[in-house]
């Protein structure tokens, strides 16, 4: 009977989680959505606590207090630019917990059915893979780009599969550890060769993996709530990684296993070799202006579009930029923001950074909407972005980013590039916009230039 009640309460908690996810579909309902999630989780925790003996509850409360304090203090202090690192760290915790729980579950009973063993093995190996992959992703995002590169993916894939089969035949703790050791190494091998620019995809993929690990544990415990929640999380992560890949016009396989296409790697290294000379040539051709001239240009315009990239967040320019926008609004100039899906380091990152600088979401446009607006725009300010505006993605078939959906900033009347230097972007591709007669360049640190623009506009 208690089992039936549990099932009903679990389903209600799952409904809370569905409500929380669907609440996130609009900014207006997002707050309510986050509340639903908390209510569901709190109810489930309270429910499982009352069914346990008192001596257990004390320990659980201690554990919850320690974990809760760590989690809350981390989440409160962390700057929003470090959000991708935080997400990778959190995914690694889920993976590690999944491995631990699977081990305990295996140890708790002397014999398991073959089906349960399969579920334990799948759950724990996905968990181990999530853990090590997330740790590597965290290190990469945190700025350790020169991690040693191994390319033994096939070796460890084979080792994982063999130890998987042996574990099914001899289900003891030793083989469990071997299996998870192989899965850990496999996670490292999967994420290590992925390029830094592809990190949004990797973070979403790890999100998906942590969901599938939850699912695996849910199957082995025959817990309906874990299965449902794991499925939501898994599909959500998969959809996010698909959206990110589509925004870069690359397939998921190409992002994850791109380093196997040695042909491609050679091509891109050639293009980076050619690059310094072409930059020098461009340097003479592109028009470099100062803040005063840029302010005059802006004052004469009616509609302004701002295209921010990750470079803006790196130089902490968003607050100065918003000050500038407020001044422009005071001059009755209409200012909007255009955000490319891969503008930040994780899905939706740039939107959060802008929102943190008090930008209303009504002023922020997504790719298609912004592209329909560009012909009416007098000045487009591109700050800290490069590849997402590169028109060779539309025209030049030999370009590595050919076919990638871009923001058509060249359709506006003037383009104002705020850049640190004349160098090219993440992928090392020339941007023909720099030499476009419509383009003016403002070179320097993003934050400093925005402050100069504010001063110039005040006069």
């Amino acid at each position: 009977m208690t089992n039936n009640i549990n099932l009903i309460l679990y389903t209600m908690a799952a409904c809370c989680f569905i409500m929380s996810l669907s609440g996130l579909s609009l900014e207006k309902t997002a707050r309510k959505g986050s509340l639903y999630g908390m209510v569901g989780m709190g109810a489930i925790l309270a429910l499982s606590l009352i069914s346990l003996p008192l001596s257990h509850i004390i320990w659980i409360i201690v554990a919850l207090a320690i974990g809760g304090a760590i989690g809350l203090s981390t989440a409160k202090r962390l700057p929003m630019t470090m959000l991708p690192e935080l997400m990778a760290g959190f995914h690694s915790l889920i993976g590690l917990a999944a491995v631990g729980i699977a081990g305990l579950f295996l140890h708790a009973k002397s014999s398991h059915s073959i089906g349960t063993l399969l579920e334990i093995a799948v759950g724990s190996s996905i968990g181990a893979l999530t853990f090590s992959g997330s740790v590597i992703a965290f290190l990469k995002l945190h700025g350790y780009p020169n991690l040693p590169s191994f390319n033994h993916l096939r070796l460890f894939l084979g080792a994982t599969m063999i130890s998987f089969i042996i574990f099914m035949l001899y289900p003891n703790l030793l083989w469990f550890c071997v299996l998870n050791g192989c899965a850990l190494a496999l996670g490292v091998m999967l994420i290590l060769p992925v390029a830094g620019a592809d990190m949004p995809v990797v973070v979403s993929m790890l999100n998906s993996y942590s969901g599938w690990a939850t699912c695996g544990i849910g199957f082995s415990m025959a817990n309906i709530l874990l299965v449902m929640t794991g499925a939501f999380v898994g599909t959500s992560g998969a959809i996010l990684s698909y959206i990110m890949c589509r925004a870069m016009n690359r397939s998921l396989c190409h992002v994850l296993f791109g380093h196997f296409y040695t042909h491609r790697v050679n091509m891109s290294s050639e293009s980076t070799k050619d690059q310094p000379s072409s930059v020098i040539v461009e340097h003479h051709e592109s028009r470099i202006i100062n803040a005063k001239e840029a302010a005059d240009l802006l004052k004469k315009s009616k509609n302004v579009m701002i295209v921010p990239g990750y470079g803006m967040a790196v130089s902490h320019a968003q607050h100065a930029l918003v000050d500038m926008v407020k001044l422009l609004n005071h001059h009755h100039i209409n200012v909007k923001y255009a955000i490319h899906p891969v503008a930040g380091r994780m899905p939706g990152h740039m939107n959060v950074l802008l929102a943190e600088a008090h930008v209303s979401y009504d002023d922020v446009m997504e790719l298609e909407e912004a592209n329909s607006q560009f012909p009416n725009i007098d000045v487009t300010i591109v700050i800290g972005a490069n590849d997402i505006t590169n028109p060779s993605a539309r025209t030049d078939q030999s370009s590595p980013i050919y076919g990638m959906p871009i923001l058509d900033v060249d359709h506006s009347r003037h383009i104002l590039f705020i850049k640190r230097s004349m160098g090219s972007g993440y992928s090392g591709i020339d941007n023909p916009l720099f030499t476009n007669p419509k383009t003016s360049m403002l070179l320097g640190d993003g934050k400093k230039i925005c402050e100069e623009l504010v001063d110039a506009l005040k006069d």
């Binding site: 908690a13 989680f17 569905i18 929380s20 996810l21 609009l26 900014e27 997002a30 959505g33 989780m41 489930i44 606590l49 346990l52 001596s55 257990h56 004390i58 659980i60 320690i66 974990g67 809760g68 304090a69 989690g71 809350l72 981390t74 989440a75 409160k76 935080l86 997400m87 959190f90 915790l93 889920i94 917990a97 631990g100 729980i101 305990l104 999100n207 939850t214 544990i217 849910g218 199957f219 415990m221 874990l226 299965v227 929640t229 499925a231 939501f232 999380v233 898994g234 599909t235 959809i239 996010l240 959206i243 918003v322 407020k326 939706g348 959060v352 929102a355 008090h358 979401y361 005040k458």
Partner: protein
């Protein structure tokens, strides 16, 4: 005449009772069979498949600008895996450790989601102080 009618009615009644008994017997037998034959794992698999579809349709509706809170939220709710750790929390070190890890995720994930979602509110956007007003 009336006596034979009464007999007939009684006869029919007996038959009916017999039929009801048989039906009840058959019903309980059918229940036994169904309980024995539907594997718990199949139910879980059905739930899993339907949940995948549900998740797919719900997540596609999420606006692009809210993808970061979405990821933070899914991370927080995937810590329901804590239900697997709770029974072992008091009895083993690993169980305690797993509970702590999940608790970090629950509190950190939800408070991060809330922090982000609050940024997208109208009140917060209007709080921005204009340079011109200073």
């Amino acid at each position: 005449m009336s006596a034979s009618l009464l007999d007939q009615i009684k006869d029919i009644q007996n038959n009916l009772n017999h039929l009801v008994d048989q039906f009840n017997h058959l019903n309980s037998y059918a229940q036994d069979v169904s309980v024995g034959f539907v594997d718990e794992r199949i139910v879980l698999l059905i739930v899993f498949i339907l949940s995948c579809f549900l998740g797919y349709f719900v997540v596609w509706r999420v606006k692009g600008s809210l993808h970061s809170p979405l990821m933070s939220m899914t991370n927080a709710i995937s810590s329901v895996i804590i239900l697997g750790a709770l029974p072992f929390c008091a009895t083993s070190v690993i169980g305690f450790f797993a509970t702590v890890l999940c608790a970090i995720n629950i509190c950190g994930g939800f408070s991060m989601t809330k922090r982000m979602v609050d940024l997208f509110s109208k009140e917060f956007a209007s709080k921005g102080v204009s340079v011109y007003d200073k």
